[in-house]
């Protein structure tokens, strides 16, 4: 017996329970390839390599005590496929584990390292850690309370529709974030108002120590999108081609029909939650080793070699080039000075109210006093 409820038919349920893929973990073609030229195929690979090398460098700088904390990206680099179809005027609300997103939007390695070190050039001026964003790229800095950005994205999409813009909004968040009220309110509003927003849930199967099956009893995140009246699909999130193809369709649909869309990116967090975490307390190394073979770069590299877009030595050379490139940038940013001492008084409001003016004056006096007492002003 098949029933259709408000556009929810068996086919749309199937899409939320299957795993859409184009290449398998060896790089074999198992689905419909998108029609992409060699340079686009190569670009996707290049962004993933850049994200991986940058991730390695951030970890290295953290170990050296230069970066306070970092959330490893290893295994989730195929997120670049989701953002590549967007235009510069589209808006993005990234999560905190999204180096590939920041790079695709146009942020470069130097800006990312300036941010991680919160030095004098930090675009976010030392506000908070492990978050990235820049108005220049229509990318709003991530709120640290997970999921807060989800309803923001829906509001932006509504405003785009209201102002008759040709733009769409994309928002990233983790599987853990789908338990928060922000997720449910955001999806509900999007379903009710029919706005051009694309939800991308990076389901890496862990929220710190809580595995996905303890986060929800829903069979998938995509399934939950569907019940809010949003077209939803679960995608092999380690297959960058599948991510790219589905995101292109979602973006196009959002742009033309002003309809929301949810993509569940099924992936796996191969690293620790952050550099402050110790995963050996809650998950086995055996599981991680088993999941390693599904990681996104190797399979795509095989695919590109098969397609004649890339050779093995070119791939190695690309990695080496970015590794050296970031090494140079790291040297440069480590030599930059810090932010001004009074930086946190600014950007609370457009103009300082009298209380903050008074407090700023007192603050400056206290710096002088520290010096006279022989105390270190950091």
């Amino acid at each position: 017996m098949s029933r259709i409820v408000r556009g929810i038919d068996e086919a749309s349920i199937e899409k939320t329970l299957g795993i859409y893929r184009i290449i398998d973990e060896e790089g074999n073609i198992v689905g419909d390839e998108p029609n992409l030229d060699g340079s686009t195929l190569y670009k996707l690979y290049e962004y993933m390599v850049r994200a991986r090398v940058l991730d390695e460098w951030l970890l290295k700088l953290q170990r050296l005590g230069k970066v306070a904390i970092h959330a490893p990206n290893l295994g989730q680099e195929a997120i670049v496929g989701a953002v590549t179809p967007l235009k510069p005027d589209d808006w993005v609300f990234p999560s905190y584990r999204d180096l590939g997103v920041y790079l695709v939007r146009g942020m470069d390695e130097e800006e990312i390292l300036d941010r991680a070190l919160y030095n004098q050039d930090d675009p976010l001026k030392g506000s908070d850690f492990a978050i990235y964003g820049n108005r220049r790229f229509n990318m709003v800095p991530t709120p640290v309370p997970v999921g807060n950005q989800i309803p923001h994205a829906v509001g932006v999409a509504y405003a785009m529709k209201y102002l008759d813009r040709d733009s769409v909004t994309m928002v990233m968040f983790g599987d853990g974030a789908t338990s928060r009220g922000d997720f449910h309110a955001g999806l509900n509003f999007a379903g009710v108002y029919r706005v051009p927003v694309i939800f991308v849930c990076e389901n890496n199967q862990w929220a710190i120590s809580v595995p996905f099956d303890r986060q929800t009893r829903s069979p998938s995140i995509a399934f939950r999108g569907l019940v809010y009246g949003i077209e939803s699909i679960r995608v092999d999130g380690n297959d960058v081609l599948a991510m790219y193809k589905i995101a292109s369709e979602a973006v196009e649909k959002a742009r033309k029909e002003k309809e929301p869309y949810l993509i569940e990116m099924l992936t796996y967090r191969l690293g620790s939650h952050t550099t402050a975490d110790d995963p050996s307390k809650y998950r086995s190394e055996e599981e991680v080793n088993r999941m390693m073979k599904y990681e996104p770069l190797k399979r795509y590299r095989n695919y590109l070699i098969f397609k004649g877009v890339l050779t093995d030595s070119e791939a190695n050379e690309l990695y080496r080039r970015y590794y050296n490139y970031i090494e140079d940038i790291a040297k440069k940013v480590l030599n930059k000075g810090g932010l001004p001492h009074d930086v946190f008084f600014h950007n609370v409001f457009e103009k300082l109210p009298w209380n903050l003016q008074d407090q700023l004056r007192e603050f400056r006096e206290s710096l002088e006093l520290m010096k006279s007492l022989g105390l270190e002003v950091d």
Partner: protein
């Protein structure tokens, strides 16, 4: 007696209370296998099992709303909010229910729920891992609020909190989780609600503070003694609501000068209330103004957190000003 840190003392308090009363359950994000991100609940899941040491989905609203239900039915939940900065999704539940159910029901129902959470700055945690929102809870009305400054008090206060029949917000200054070690007895002891403690005696100035600021204040007091010859008496409030007015008044009778030190922003920090109360009821005890050294009225920054937080220089400065009276 072994010297242990605050994390270990809190863990001991939870274990002892769970052994004493099987209605005590703990819940929160990552508190089971992971033992909490700061390991306060480490090992409890092995001792008491998954039904009493409950790893929850990632929703603070869920954790607190659900805990209220547990408490209504007679359990004694101790809910962990991973960082107090993430509590705001639950604020509706806290403000409108946790703090109001006794009143709403004319005293028929009560909510013996302890919300414990790491708070405050000093670990380079940035805006959302560093804030000191104690005033929000005090101003809620209907909540007891506590903040220990060391392992011994942490254990005794948490036990008191768990045994109270009303809701408690129990804030743990994470910067001193591991740096201070004290002798903590393995026996059952509690610390009375609403009782502060004099942690340094002196006859010139009454310095009222709590949490990690107790330790900064002690350092400042030593320098002030050396450089200015001034003797500072330091009161660690321990319970922030209801605070220990008698201890403050007794001290002021001796000193006549009052300084308040807290990390929370200045405007409507607990310092505002302490100052207003003393001026209203005991202005005759004062030689001059009451001064405050506090966080500034800005979000807690990642950059230069040491300059944002009350530091020795600012406390020193305030003390020299007070000594002009």
């Amino acid at each position: 007696m072994p010297q242990i840190n605050m994390v270990e003392a809190l863990n001991m308090a939870l274990r002892e209370e769970m052994e004493r009363d099987d209605r005590v359950v703990v819940l929160g994000e990552d508190i089971g296998r992971r033992g909490g991100v700061f390991l306060v609940t480490d090992g409890l899941i092995d001792l008491f099992g998954e039904e009493r040491v409950i790893d929850t989905p990632l929703t603070e609203l869920g954790i607190i709303g659900f805990s209220i239900g547990l408490a209504l039915y007679g359990l004694r939940p101790v809910a962990e909010i991973q960082f107090i900065d993430f509590v705001y999704e639950a604020f509706d539940q806290i403000y409108s229910n946790m703090a109001r159910i006794r009143f709403r029901s004319g005293g028929m129902y009560n909510v013996p729920l302890v919300l414990r959470s790491p708070c405050c700055g000093g670990i380079k945690g940035g805006m959302h891992h560093s804030q000191s929102p104690e005033s929000l809870f005090i101003h809620t009305t209907g909540l007891y609020v506590m903040m220990p400054s060391g392992p011994y008090d942490a254990k005794g206060l948490l036990k008191t909190a768990i045994r109270l029949n009303d809701p408690v917000i129990f804030l743990e200054p994470k910067s001193i989780y591991r740096v201070i070690k004290e002798e903590v007895p393995e026996d059952d002891y509690t610390i009375e609600l609403g009782k502060g403690k004099i942690v340094r005696e002196g006859g010139d100035i009454t310095l009222v503070t709590w949490g990690a600021m107790v330790h900064i204040s002690k350092q400042a007091a030593d320098i002030v003694k050396e450089k200015l010859g001034v003797e500072v008496e330091i009161i660690d409030l321990r319970t922030l609501y209801p605070y220990d007015k008698d201890l403050i008044i007794d001290s002021l009778e001796k000193t006549g000068r009052m300084l308040i030190v807290h990390e929370a922003p200045k405007t409507l920090g607990l310092g505002s209330e302490l100052s207003a109360y003393i001026v209203e009821e005991h202005v005759d005890l004062l030689y001059g103004p009451i001064l405050r050294v506090t966080g500034y009225d800005t979000p807690f920054p990642l950059a230069h957190e040491k300059l944002y937080m009350p530091n020795i220089a600012r406390i020193y400065n305030a003390i020299s000003k007070l000594m002009e009276y």
